[in-house]
């Protein structure tokens, strides 16, 4: 298989059977007000190997809203990385359907500050035999940001041998931030392995004391938390060029938001 890189601008993206591809997608409306498609559809045929990087960056007060649908074909493997960096209002709905033996892993990182609002409804349907899913979501909220990350994972009757797991993690860095998590799981087959978790964290008094004793101020410590999550996220990308590009985007965003 020959790996191709596709910059996504269309409303519908089709990946033909047996293709290895890197999908690169940046949604970053500027003041000029480019139109963002309200819907986007991804059709990945059988036996593909796909890496999909999605960066949603809200540089303006403009709201971002998109509904996405993904079909992952039989035996295809998809590694997806989604980054949401502050948007005044971001409303994101995603529905993915996995066929037999499809293998989907997704990592999501979001960082919202000031009065940003993020609403995500991220749904998955396991409809075929022996599909696998591994989904990890980490979010950081500061200022008076609000985030709601709801997931609904359904293993349909007959989708035996499915293995899936979703983990949602939320870090609240300021008293005004608020978040809601819902990792919903609906299982209608018995020979499956399924699990989910949701958690919120804070830096413990001991951790803060230790870092303070090393000369770091509280703001610097919080910045370190965000950067370490970003670095960890970036390290999973397969191509060095992707890692560098995403690291640049993170650096530019953090510089701008400080």
């Amino acid at each position: 298989m020959v790996k191709r890189i596709i910059q996504i601008t269309d409303k519908e993206i089709k990946v033909p059977a047996g293709t290895e591809v890197l999908l690169w997608e940046v949604i970053a409306p500027s003041e000029r007000g480019e139109k963002i498609p309200a819907r986007r559809k991804f059709l990945i045929a059988e036996d593909c190997v796909v890496e999909h990087i999605v960066i949603v960056r809200g540089a303006t007060k403009k709201a971002i809203k998109q509904t996405r649908r993904l079909e992952l074909g039989r035996g295809s493997r998809l590694r997806s990385y989604e980054i949401f960096l502050g948007a005044a209002k971001l409303d994101w709905t995603s529905s993915s359907r996995l066929a037999d033996r499809a293998d989907f892993s997704k990592q999501v990182l979001f960082y919202q500050s000031a009065t940003d609002e993020l609403h995500v409804q991220d749904n998955y349907i396991f409809a075929g035999l022996g599909a696998r899913g591994q989904f990890a979501v980490s979010g950081v909220l500061s200022g008076a940001a609000r985030a709601r990350y709801f997931s609904d994972l359904a293993i349909k009757a007959g989708a035996q041998k499915t293995e899936m797991r979703i983990d949602l993690k939320l870090f609240l860095l300021s008293p005004g931030a608020q978040g809601s998590l819902l990792p919903g799981l609906k299982i209608a087959a018995n020979d499956v392995k399924a699990g989910h978790s949701a958690s919120t964290f804070r830096l413990s008094a001991e951790e803060l004391f230790y870092l303070s004793s090393r000369g770091l101020r509280e703001e610097q410590i919080k910045s370190l938390v965000i950067r370490s999550l970003a670095d960890n996220f970036t390290s999973h990308l397969s191509a060095a060029a992707s890692r560098q590009e995403v690291a640049k985007i993170f650096a530019a965003y953090f510089k701008q938001s400080q």
Partner: protein, 444 residues
Amino acid sequence: MKNTRRGLDEALVRFISSEKKEPAWMLERRLASLKIYEKMALPDWGPDLSRLNLDLITYYARASDKPAQTWDDVPADIKETFDRLGIPQAEQSVLAGVGAQYESTVIYHSLKEQFKKLGVVFEDLDVALKTHEELVKKHFMQCVPPSLHKFAALHGAVWSGGTFLYIPRGVKIEAPLQAYFRMNAKGMGQFEHTLIIVEEEAQAHYIEGCSAPRYGIDSLHAGCVEIFVARGARFRYSSVESWSKDAYNLNTKRALVQADAHMEWVGGNFGSNVTMLYPCSVLLGEGASADHLGVAFANSGQIQDTGAKVIHVAPNTSSNVVMKSISKSGGQAIYRGLIDIGPKAANAVSGIKCDALILDDRSVSDTIPRINVKNESAVLAHEATAGQLSAEDIFYLRSRGLSEAQASAMIVNGFIEPIVKELPLEYAVEMNRLVELEMENSVG
């Protein structure tokens, strides 16, 4: 047995209130609840309730003229039912007190003399409304307001019977107090109200059992449990609900927990066609805590939509939720939970663990745990897993001479053991037997 007609209107509410010779304020509250009920819609989430025809329910039935104080005074047909349930023996051996309700009316209540002397009150709520009117007036439906949902409003309008338990300050009762509720007529509604007030530094354990025979006509249980746990008190509420499999069990249970107090919910849900039950703890005082432990068994045709709700209002509060569900022969087990950490609940800690066993490819398990966090210092962890019986475990037990059904029942009993061990022995045995009963005719 004195049944009223089916269906609900203001005349029936007035009839119930006058039949019970209630004070005027209670009639006013009933009528206010009825108005709310008439305006509210059925929940737009959860199991489908459209098959439940509320016009066919009999909302009130009187079983006996007055509550008996000894078993000899209980009418013979009712006594036979409760004798079979083993209540007299339990009362003599392990219980601090016992109450029993048949249809809409409490038919027996007693409390051991030593606790009466300490100021403990354990009686029929209809009686308490007369003997402790101010206490009842102050607390009744303050924890579960009629506006909470349609069935809370319905309950507020037609409630009948139930338990009033008052534990005075500093009194500690080790032995559990027990109540047993039974619906025996077909198409009945049961709306018992349990009102529990645990004063500062007091401690007690109350346990409820519920059952009904099967008639093939839908019956409705929309009970209500309100618990007020004062500063530094500890209270455990346990229940084993085994309503008939044509009943709708739409029960509401809530506790208000003050500073440094602790509330424990232990529940087993086996019966009913549809269950919607989510015990709730509102942690109002600093240092308050709650444990929620539950088991739900969904067999053929059943929907067990159960869960837990904890609202952290005050700082330094903590909660722990452990739920186990088993679905079999097309049954649907749903965990639906909410953990809400409010803006003032600094340093709140919450742990939620849900495990589901799905015994065949026709059964369903859903987990819907919602988490709202409005304070940055909260530490919260939810973890859930779902799976089937291990073929290796069954093979091992079969090699030791057990049948496949026995092996399955044993594994399921082991699965729910963390919950069962928190129950008094008699109820633990009952829960294990209920599991074995549900596992009959199961294949792997």
